[in-house]
């Protein structure tokens, strides 16, 4: 039973940040695409803005790995 809970916890640790990252990137990406249509020179800034929420899922991944292997 413990193994199931460990797997479930690891899935939650990566799944929830992944959904959050996807939601944040969809919003930023849509706004970024709109900005780029008017000001193509902002491409660098838009890449940075879109990339920022990715840290969440990476942190989630690290936690999931620690739950699965580190525990």
């Amino acid at each position: 039973m413990d193994t199931v809970w460990i797997a479930f916890a690891a899935a939650l640790a990566i799944g929830l940040p992944a959904i959050a990252t996807a939601w944040a990137q969809s919003k930023i990406g849509a706004a970024g695409a709109g900005s780029l249509a008017e000001k193509p020179e902002l491409s660098g800034t838009v890449i940075i803005l879109v990339a920022i929420p990715e840290t969440m899922v990476i942190l989630g991944f690290v936690v999931a790995v620690i739950i699965l292997l580190g525990g």
Binding site: E41, S43, G44, T45, I47, I48, A51, I52, E54, T55, I58, L59, F61, V62, V65, L69, G70
Partner: protein, 650 residues
């Protein structure tokens, strides 16, 4: 970069600007701020154009507009360079231009009218060509009426044939043949008494008779066909004549007008730039910036051309000038393609660093660390090498391929270190063993390694930020950066102690050191300093993506191998494996590039790069830019986005 001023007698301003444009290295400063001392501010003022200069400007603008109109009329053709210098003969050229413009306009109007006619007649061309072939085949008699029709296909021909009752008693005849546009052209020859009945039948069956222009209604069918054919031939001949005349004119007069156009553009740009010059009662002043290594060359040219009347002087760059110094990129050949990544961001300030060498060093390294497959690396290297010939004309594509080649080499190296060749194919089939680490089985050590890479990269960024702050004489900022580095190392040491790599005895001194340094961090960086520290630690953890994305890449490659094995057939297995590996390569290359780039833009650059630099825009002719760079005008405009490292220019 050097701060310079050019001084000379007022009457030599035009010639001096012409020489400066020819040399093409001086970025002219429109403002005198930072160039003129407060004591002399009253004496030096912006150069105001006199009446003669204004008239000259109006004349040149009108002249340029006329030249544009003339060139719009002329056909595009390769023309030789002019042997004449336009300057001494500009008045004559100006007078002939009016006559030539009127003549070319008339020819152009004529050409447009003929082209319009031909466009209208083009609708009849296909029908006329087919129907004239049919008319040639039959014997024409004045007793018969001829009706032309266009039919969709063979099926329509059959329907028409079935409905024409006159065919039975031979009072009419139907001839058909396929037209150039794919439709069928029909010709009905009928006796005059039944021709009207046939027309009504065609109308009922929605197969209307072919319509000729309204103006030809009174003519017979054959006369209409002959008239239109003759008109098309005449129009085509007339068009050829007009185009030949325009081409002849272009070859004869084009070189001279092109030279005149270049001269007018030069004069207009000089007039425009002279507004950025300054004057006293006797002298003119031009202020600006130029690469340090070019100063001697321009100074010598001025000395040679004006016999010492015009002088270039280098001025000391003061601290308050640093924000105004224009910047451009100047990197060794290896780093040039990586400048494309730097250009996605705004220009860094003069006191900051050019990030290109750092991208050039770390981007391929991170790419290799993430992709890390010798097979994928080889395929990417092969594809990028083969594509080089296709990409010769596109500079951006060439740069992308150069970057891809370097990255694929790193992917091969790390692939050998990880023992990966198309995932586990190399291990299972070829017997390749990891030289360093098997990242599929050693997830936690790889995680530590990725974070160690992050620690090194972020610390390097903070060190560069510390140096940059010292250069700008912002000691407080430098102290914050230094304290951040110390804090990060103390926290990392503490974590390592907790894990058990360092003796437990070290825990207490490390905690005491952190607590002792906290007030310093708060005093130097304010209340936001702890947040900045947390952000830096988060940045280091973010490098875990190197291991995470690398792991997904190798797992996808293994899935491709497993699925191809499950097919149980060599050919099908090769196809399935090939497709999935191809998808894996595309995803691998894309995600490795995006994440490596992100680690630079978000985690690394904000530690030391200060954005907001001014673009270096030298006053020069486009021709010179093209000669220097060997690229097109549009690309030379992109090249203006370059900036150089302060260490090389100051």
């Amino acid at each position: 970069m050097s701060k310079v001023e050019i001084v000379g007698p007022r009457q030599l301003l035009g010639e001096t600007l012409s020489l400066v444009r020819q040399e093409g290295d001086l970025h002219i400063e429109p403002s005198a701020v930072g160039f003129v001392d407060d004591i002399h501010k009253q004496e030096v003022h912006s150069l105001l154009p006199d009446e003669k200069a204004l008239f000259e400007k109006i004349f040149l603008e009108e002249f340029e507009s006329k030249l544009h109109n003339l060139f719009a009329c002329l056909p595009p053709a390769m023309i030789r360079e002019s042997y004449l210098s336009p300057r001494p003969i500009i008045d004559t050229v100006s007078r002939t231009l009016d006559n030539h413009l009127a003549m070319c306009r008339s020819l152009c109007d004529k050409r447009d009218a003929i082209q319009h006619d031909l466009l209208e007649l083009s609708g009849y061309k296909s029908f006329l060509s087919s129907v004239s072939t049919l008319l040639d085949k039959i014997q024409l008699t004045p007793d018969l009426d001829y009706i032309g029709i266009t039919l969709k296909d063979e099926k329509s021909v059959d329907i028409l044939r079935n409905n024409l009752n006159c065919l039975a008693d031979a009072s009419c005849e139907l001839f058909t043949m396929p037209a150039e546009d794919g439709a069928m052209v029909g010709l009905i020859a009928a006796t005059k008494n039944i021709s009207q009945t046939i027309r009504s039948l065609l109308s009922q069956k929605q197969m209307p008779e072919f319509k000729f222009p309204e103006s030809l209604q009174t003519m017979t069918f054959i006369a209409k066909v002959e008239y239109l054919q003759k008109k098309i031939q005449e129009s085509e001949k007339a068009l050829q004549t007009v185009e030949a005349e325009l081409e002849k004119f272009t070859h004869r007069w084009g070189p001279m007008y092109q030279a005149a156009h270049a001269w007018v553009r030069e004069q207009l740009s000089i007039i425009q730039v002279s507004a950025f010059s300054f004057e006293t009662a006797m002298c003119f002043f031009i202020y600006g910036w130029m690469p340090a290594e070019k100063v001697t060359s321009l100074s010598t040219s001025l000395q040679r051309n004006f016999a010492g009347s015009v002088v270039l002087e280098e001025i000391e760059i003061r601290t308050e000038d640093l924000d105004r110094v224009p910047v451009f990129l100047q990197n060794p050949q290896y780093f040039k393609p990586f400048e494309n990544f730097t250009r996605l961001l705004p220009l860094p300030s003069y006191t900051s660093f050019d990030p290109t060498p750092f991208i050039g060093l770390f981007f391929p390294l991170f790419f290799g660390l993430i992709l890390g497959d010798a097979g994928y690396g080889l395929i990417v290297l092969l594809l990028s090498s083969l594509s080089t010939r296709l990409a010769r004309k596109n500079k951006l594509f060439m740069d992308a391929l150069s970057i891809l080649k370097v990255c694929s080499l790193y992917a091969i190296i790390f692939g050998l270190l990880y023992g990966e060749f198309l995932g586990n194919f190399g291990h299972n089939v070829l017997g390749i063993k990891p030289l360093l680490i098997d990242r599929q089985k050693n997830i936690i050590p790889m995680l530590y390694f990725a974070m160690a890479v992050g620690l090194a990269h972020v610390t390097l960024g903070l060190t560069m930020g510390f140096v940059s702050a010292l250069r700008r004489h912002t000691k407080k900022e430098a102290l914050v950066k230094l304290l951040n580095i110390i804090f990060i190392f103390l926290i990392v040491a503490l974590i390592i102690t907790f894990i058990g790599f360092f003796p437990e005895l070290m825990t207490r001194p490390l905690i005491i050191s952190i607590l002792l340094l906290c007030p310093f961090l708060l005093f130097s960086g304010g209340l936001l300093a702890p947040l900045e520290l947390l952000k830096n630690i988060g940045n280091i953890i973010s490098y875990a993506r190197i291991m995470a994305i690398g792991l997904t890449s190798v797992l996808l490659a293994n899935v491709a191998n497993q699925l191809s094995g499950l097919t149980g057939d060599i050919i099908l297995g090769l196809i399935v494996g090939g497709i999935i590996h191809l998808i894996s390569i595309i995803i691998g290359v894309f995600s490795s590039s995006i994440h490596s780039l992100r680690l630079h833009y978000v985690e690394f650059f904000d530690k030391f790069i200060e954005l907001g630099g001014r673009k270096y825009r030298p006053f020069s002719s486009n021709q010179k830019k093209q000669n220097q760079t060997g690229i097109s005008d549009s690309e030379s405009k992109q090249q203006e986005k370059l900036y150089e490292r302060p260490s090389q220019s100051s």
